[in-house]
Symmetry: C2
Subunit: 305 residues, 2 copies
């Protein structure tokens, strides 16, 4: 693993303080945001660097938690004002989500400035964020990194053109089944993926939540993976971001090959399964590699025929 | 494989003439019914015997098609009147099903009478049918067979008590994810299955359509299997029945063990994937073992990590 002076994947996304209401209760100002979950996912394989911005109210104990997991905060600006805040309520299923409020705060006029020492990094995860800012980050890189790109329905619905421009400039698209259907106009997800191949996408991972994930490439590489069987989903927040981060971290550590992509998907599936078992990032913070390997061995046994 | 004088699994269910409307067009009086699809699924491994009843209008060409696939019709009574007819319309997804009409015809007052030569058969598939009649068949058996039981939402909604009685008298329950949630009152399918274990079920297969299937036993055996990637679903009718039949046929041929159950689930997944690619049973009628093995090898490659 690299040390902090030799940082790994750049993770561009939000750092937030989340207030969450689930059938199990309510928690306020939890450490959250797409970059946070993704960096924690990646931290099992590398020293990811968060590229984002927080307010002066960002709790020092959260900085400490992230740094202790090997996450570099050298790209996380601190600005006058409050940290991005997100308030959401979940029903009985993860899909049953009501966003109560989104206060951009310091993120409202944040424009990313990639620090000079990061501009030759080889792996860049564009976690859930405005497509225009994702492009701005990529344009500041001095050498073309391997780009993993995550998006969500909100951007597809409201910034369709920007989203479609990404197809030609990223290396790996992570998307969920509903989103790939909307983007392609195809109800069959394999045909949906193939229609994106024609528009410039070369590798796609379709996330299906409790039903698993699919990796499909324009070179006909295919992996079908069920989800890890989770019995208690306490708080679904951040599972997709963790997934994207773990995947990127694995690829940085092991290189990009068809075989490595498959293993990256496997680890992403396993690490994301822990996220939903606790509030916010608590399960990821307390997680060690032994627990990940144990779950991975079980999963292999349960999926082998 | 057994010859016709030495019949294999009994498949109790309906034999129907289906009229189907899908986005691809309309077909009238297709060979259908739960026992038909199930017997064709089982025919890849054994000589299944259909236990059912048809009218005098049942086309001789359909008899011929079934017999040529090794399906025995010695338990299929012919009665005065018309064959059971089912008319249904599908939208863009298999879930988007509208049943336009169900005419029981000769099945309305049919009470199964298991022929003497079948009463010691070792495998019995109770395909989709009235729970009371399923019990009647089982009660006529002179030796306790291994019983695979398929049900559907209609019976759970309208004959709940009869359905729950089956838990203690069958060996393997096949059910879909929506049904297991309704029956158990649990939204998490693993907890749902565990709640049925407490009520007498020992082995359960949860079908999730395009998302695959799960085998889970009260002895902690677990298999998670994605679905075979089907790009063209022309007519979803009978996929679940084919699945149940292939599974039962495989178990009859290979015995019931944890390993054999896993392979049975694998073959059921593969064989059912063909059903939806053609109208009615046409794809199953034209299917040979080589095509099944080829798809199975691909599937193994696409699911291996």
């Amino acid at each position: 693993m690299r040390n902090k002076e030799n940082p790994g994947s750049i993770v561009f996304g939000s750092v937030a303080l989340d207030t969450l209401i689930t059938p199990a209760g309510k928690r306020e100002d939890l450490l959250g945001g797409s970059a946070t979950y993704a960096a924690l996912g990646a931290s099992f394989f590398t020293h990811p660097v968060i590229l984002s911005c927080v307010g002066e109210d960002f709790p020092p104990r959260y900085r400490k938690e992230l740094e202790e997991k090997g996450v570099s905060l050298q790209g996380m600006e601190i600005r006058e004002g409050e940290t991005f805040r997100w308030v959401a309520k979940y029903g009985d299923t993860p899909q049953d989500l009501e966003v109560i409020s989104t206060c951009q705060n310091v993120l409202a006029d944040y424009f990313p400035d990639v620090p000079a020492f990061l501009r030759k990094q080889k792996f860049l995860l564009l976690a859930n964020n405005t497509p225009a800012l994702q492009k701005a980050v990529l344009s500041q890189m001095e050498e073309r990194p391997f780009v993993v790109w995550d998006t969500m329905k909100y951007w597809i619905d409201n910034y369709r053109e920007d989203v479609e421009e990404m197809f030609n400039i990223v290396d790996l698209v992570i998307i969920n089944d509903e989103e790939v259907r909307i983007l392609s106009g195809e109800s069959n997800i394999f045909k949906a993926a193939e229609s994106l191949f024609k528009r410039g996408v070369s590798r796609i991972i379709i996330k299906k939540g409790e039903h698993g994930a699919i990796y499909y490439s324009s070179h006909n590489s295919l992996l079908l993976l069920p989800a890890y069987p989770v019995k208690e989903c306490l708080d679904p927040t951040g599972a997709g971001d963790t997934f994207a981060g773990a995947l990127t971290g694995y690829l940085e550590k092991n290189g990009v090959s068809p075989s490595s992509l498959k293993h990256a998907l496997l680890y992403a599936t396993i690490i994301a399964s822990f996220t939903v078992e606790g509030w916010g990032v608590e399960r990821l913070i307390g997680l060690d590699k032994t627990a990940v390997e144990r779950r991975l061995n079980n999963f292999r046994q349960w999926t082998r025929v």
